[in-house]
Symmetry: C2
Subunit: 299 residues, 2 copies
């Protein structure tokens, strides 16, 4: 089976590293320089202090005529629209997997109904060191759920049992995405604003209170079957990634655009729809927007 | 007239610098080293890039038997209780002026009813460079209002018209303190959390929205005669002190205790009294408490 991975960020490179043992993998990057480097020097996976070198195919997405059977889209949510606009480039793929944070991109996927469309969440910790080096900082899993059609070639991945890189199949795509959204809506903005590692939200008592305050607000608009389980999941992610900086923290500190629209922006839309005031989400949303704006100025 | 100033912080030193021309001033410090330095090397006032050297008296407060007619208490709010416990040391003062932020200290002043007790707010910008150097970073005024008794010797100050250092007399102590409290409750925690100068709250649009959100919450519990005037005042202070870091920002960055209890702590008490939920104030209060806690750890 041939696998295409659109996006050469931390998640795209991590997927490429783990899938290359079993499959023929091509990474489709935004910049040609990154593709060149991956082709020439290979992909380096750093794990537990050791580095493994992996050779694979790579090319810039805009020039690609993708013939892979299974395609992963790993770009940030705000770039999904651009990928969908160029869907003729992966017309031959039978199954497409979208691994974005948030929920806002789901409505954009309706033009792909002829394919198997899978959405999923990534619970791994990954840090991109440079264009051809990714570190696996926390071993988790990838959860996949059907949005349109069948699992198709994605079903094979769950059966493969790749060490340190399990795939899990779930039934209800909405509950999969919401579960991740809740985690992202709490941990990401708070760590970015307070400029701390994920674990500090548990260690510093007033920060833990901030998490709880925010969670109480979110549960008014995000569907949770089991509130206690949702809260425990947040705490569990903080524990497991205690020493990591969240992606939003990293985006802010490297003056990149964050995924705040996909995360709290979506929450605020829900609040508007339901007529529920969400002062903390509004406040945090503005804080991150302001930090982005200032970062861009200084950058 | 002899004037005593309890507290050798930025405000205490600024007062000492401006009152020494006309009056015999003694500064009562917490540490003997600061008093020694002030006695030996004098007090230096930096203003518009120029430095003026002023000689005055200084001694540690704990050893002082104060004979001044007029005493200013310029310690932080959380140290007022300790000063009141030692009120026998300034028993001979007829008039005592308290220049703290917040409102919480007012109830502690009831044991001083035999004196003229004045409370006031400082609208100057002041930055303490070292134990005997203070910079006047923003020219404002000091507003005084009677809590118990008469204005006494404090009335003279308002008549004196000291250049760049005016005193204003107001009628209603509560509205004087609330006006300052509103400014402090908005500007201080936001600048400390976002780590920006006061002016950024106006320049960065999402930060301005955060100010507005917080203000809408505060006006539910703080008495404001004219809401628009109160908001305009906040904006005006941000403009006038655009290039300054707030005292709370400075406290956090220098890993000192902040005045968050006196400011948002008081607001939260009011909310409890009135049964009004204040999610943003709670959230910000926890943020600053957490930053204090972490600072202390790392210090």
């Amino acid at each position: 089976m041939k696998i295409g991975i659109i996006g050469g960020g931390a998640i795209g490179l991590l997927l490429a590293a783990y899938l290359s043992d079993e499959y023929e993998v091509t990474v489709y990057t935004r910049r040609s320089l990154q593709a060149q480097r991956l082709m020439r020097e290979g992909l380096r996976l750093v794990k537990r202090g050791e580095t493994k070198c992996i050779s694979l195919q790579a090319m810039p997405f805009t020039k690609a005529d993708i013939s892979d059977d299974l395609v992963f889209v790993t770009v940030k949510q705000y770039d999904v629209a651009e990928i969908i606009n160029r869907q003729n480039q992966f017309d031959r793929a039978e199954t497409v997997v979208f691994l974005q944070n948030g929920m806002g991109h789901v409505k954009r996927l309706s033009s792909l109904t002829k394919k198997n469309v899978i959405v999923g969440t990534v619970e791994h910790g990954a840090l991109k060191h440079d264009d051809h080096t990714v570190e696996h900082t926390g071993i988790g899993k990838i959860v996949l759920a059907r949005l349109y059609g069948a699992f198709g070639q994605a079903a094979n991945l769950a059966k493969k049992n790749i060490p340190d890189f399990p795939f899990e199949i779930a039934n209800d795509w909405e509950s999969v995405l919401v579960k991740k959204l809740i985690v992202n809506a709490v941990i990401n903005p708070l760590t970015a604003l307070l400029r701390v590692k994920n674990g500090e939200l548990l260690k510093v008592k007033p920060y833990y209170e901030m998490m709880a305050l925010l969670f109480s607000e979110l549960k008014q608009v995000l569907p949770m079957e089991d509130e206690q389980a949702a809260w425990d999941h947040i705490v569990n992610v903080c524990e497991k990634t205690a020493d990591n900086y969240s992606s939003m923290f990293m985006d802010i500190s490297q003056q990149r655009k964050t995924e705040i629209d996909a995360i709290l922006g979506y929450v605020l839309e829900k609040g508007k729809e339901l007529g529920v005031p969400l002062p903390l989400s509004q406040f945090l949303f503005a804080a991150i927007k302001g930090m982005e704006e200032r970062g861009a100025e200084h950058g």
